[in-house]
């Protein structure tokens, strides 16, 4: 007898939340970049404008709650980005995107607003030179701050992503203050991952245990202060490992979160070296109809996921798995192999 979760799955038309790497090309080479943006294994295999349009029309029909365009730097494909935002906005789907802010001028902010963008997340990894050091270029901090201002001016909701490093954890109070200045609604911080360029630069960028702890202490104090004040700024200490431990062990009936890599491959977790198909070969709807929502039942996925229990293990060194975004993923195709 089918259980209720299986019955519910039949009436869910598609994932409720997606991330789509619109490009992995990038105008920066940040020291911590988890997916080697600009030079990873996907960058020469990216979806064309036509393939992206087909995917997003598919997504629009599935009517998810939210889709986030990630990268790379999404604004390097601004024209198609605006077109895709419009398709989703016409269906009242929330659309967010992440950016380093370099290309986010006043004019671009207006274009994004006009297309229907709901929310933008700008990376700010320190104050002034501290931010620029991680980005590898002078002047990036000013542009990121200007991007926050431009977004705020056109009333696009903004978030800030902050990556802790060995030299910026004691700037957390200034980061919170910056967020308050520009009406940022969410400050998201998560532990720096030793993957991608983050692995190559581990020694120089990773904060110490003590630096993390001192930062979290301040962060908790500021979070409590914000909650007591008006709660407009949400402060999140994210965990990059938690989701796949949770999904692999506790959720195999229906997972409604899907990531699409820039080459069209479908990833259950953007941090794991395993994909379940490619939207260049079959439509997302077809994958959904073939059980994509039950993806965490796939034994190989559970095995891969269960090998990683801490952030250090994400670099796959000790567990002999392909390096995410550097080496070819373990590729399964749930349509062609009909395994769900």
């Amino acid at each position: 007898m089918e259980n209720s979760a299986e019955n519910h799955y039949k009436i869910i038309r598609g994932p409720y939340q997606l991330t789509v790497d619109i490009t992995n090309k990038c105008n920066l080479r940040c020291l911590h970049c988890y997916n080697f943006s600009g030079e990873n294994i996907c960058v020469d295999e990216e979806m064309t404008d036509e393939e992206l349009t087909r995917l997003i029309k598919d997504v629009a029909d599935m009517n998810p709650l939210n889709l986030c365009f990630c990268g790379g730097e999404p604004l390097l494909r601004k024209d198609i980005l605006l077109k895709l935002i419009k398709i989703l906005a016409d269906k009242n789907i929330q659309i967010s995107f992440v950016t380093n802010g370099l290309l986010l001028t006043e004019e671009v902010a207006k274009e994004l607003k006009g297309a229907g963008l709901s929310r933008a997340q700008v990376s700010v990894d320190g104050i002034g030179e501290s931010h620029d050091r991680l980005r590898g270029r002078k002047g990036c901090f000013e542009k990121a701050v200007q991007a926050l201002k431009n977004l705020n001016d056109v009333h696009i909701q903004t978030g800030v992503a902050f990556t802790p490093t060995s030299w910026n954890t004691d700037e957390i109070d200034q980061i919170v203050d910056l967020c308050l200045e520009f009406n940022v609604s969410e400050l998201r911080i998560q532990a720096t991952m030793p993957i991608g360029r983050g692995e190559e630069n581990t020694k120089s960028i990773l904060p110490t245990e003590l630096q993390y702890r001192k930062m979290i202490k301040r962060l908790n104090a500021r979070r409590n202060e914000q909650i007591l004040k008006d709660g407009k700024l949400r402060i999140e200490w994210g965990d990059p490992v938690d989701h796949f431990i949770r999904l692999a062990n506790y959720v195999d009936e229906c997972c409604a979160f899907v990531s699409i890599k820039a080459d069209g491959s479908i990833a259950p977790s953007i941090y794991l070296p395993l994909t379940l198909g490619n939207v260049k070969k079959h439509s997302l709807k077809e994958y959904w109809e073939h059980g994509l929502g039950r993806m965490w039942r796939v034994e190989t996925l559970k095995e891969v996921s269960n090998k990683v229990r801490c952030i250090k293990e994400m670099n796959m060194d000790e567990i002999e798995m392909p390096k995410t975004f550097k080496e070819k993923d373990i590729q399964i195709d749930i349509v062609e192999q009909n395994i769900l």
Binding site: A191, E209, L210, K217, D239, V241, N249
Partner: protein, 185 residues
């Protein structure tokens, strides 16, 4: 290991504050020494006030370590855990007290436990995300092994704090013992 507060005892046992990368090791140790009952035994102390069976499930353990809500002190020999102590903070309160949630020993070694608590007292004022004032152990009076564990904790430096009559209902009293951090009243 980056912590500068590693204690090497005479027996070459290393005592240290665990980090997020120790999660798997801690999970494996807890599984080997299955914490499936909320009762004291000869080699296991558990905070009698933990009522949520999920507390020592893998996801919650990881979550608590990652968020620094629970600190684990490990005594290891040849890389294997001999004794584990967990000290949790109450994330939903203003309390600056660490709750002694768990002690699991392969073999109860009072000297080693003393060294482990000593490390906690030395390291946590700097490493903690609270400003810790004391560590509190809790016992339900009248249950097995209470006297044994009270005696062990007394030997390692805990003192009686309070006895709360009928705290746990049905006439059951709760006794607490504490160990103070330096310069805290």
């Amino acid at each position: 290991m980056e912590l500068n507060s590693i204690v090497k005892t005479k027996t070459e046992t290393i005592i240290r504050l665990a980090e997020e990368s120790d999660t798997k090791k801690i999970l494996d140790y807890l599984e080997e020494n299955s914490v499936n009952k909320f009762t004291l035994s000869k080699k296991l102390y558990i905070n009698t006030q933990i009522s949520d069976i999920e507390h020592f499930r893998d996801l919650n353990i990881r979550n608590n370590i990652y968020n620094f809500y629970e600190d684990y002190i490990l005594a290891e020999r040849n890389g294997k855990i001999e004794t584990l102590i967990s000290l949790g903070i109450n994330k939903r309160s203003m309390s600056q007290v660490y709750l002694l949630n768990l002690i699991i020993c392969k073999k109860v070694n009072r000297e080693q436990l003393k060294n482990m608590f000593q490390l906690a007292l030395e390291v946590l004022p700097e490493y903690s995300i609270i400003d810790p004032t004391k560590i509190r152990a809790s016992f339900e009076e009248g249950t097995d092994y209470v006297d044994l564990w009270k005696n062990i904790l007394q030997e390692v430096g805990f003192t009686h704090e309070a006895k709360r009559e009928n705290e746990l209902g049905e006439g059951k009293a709760l006794t607490t013992m504490i160990m103070k951090f330096a310069n805290k009243k």
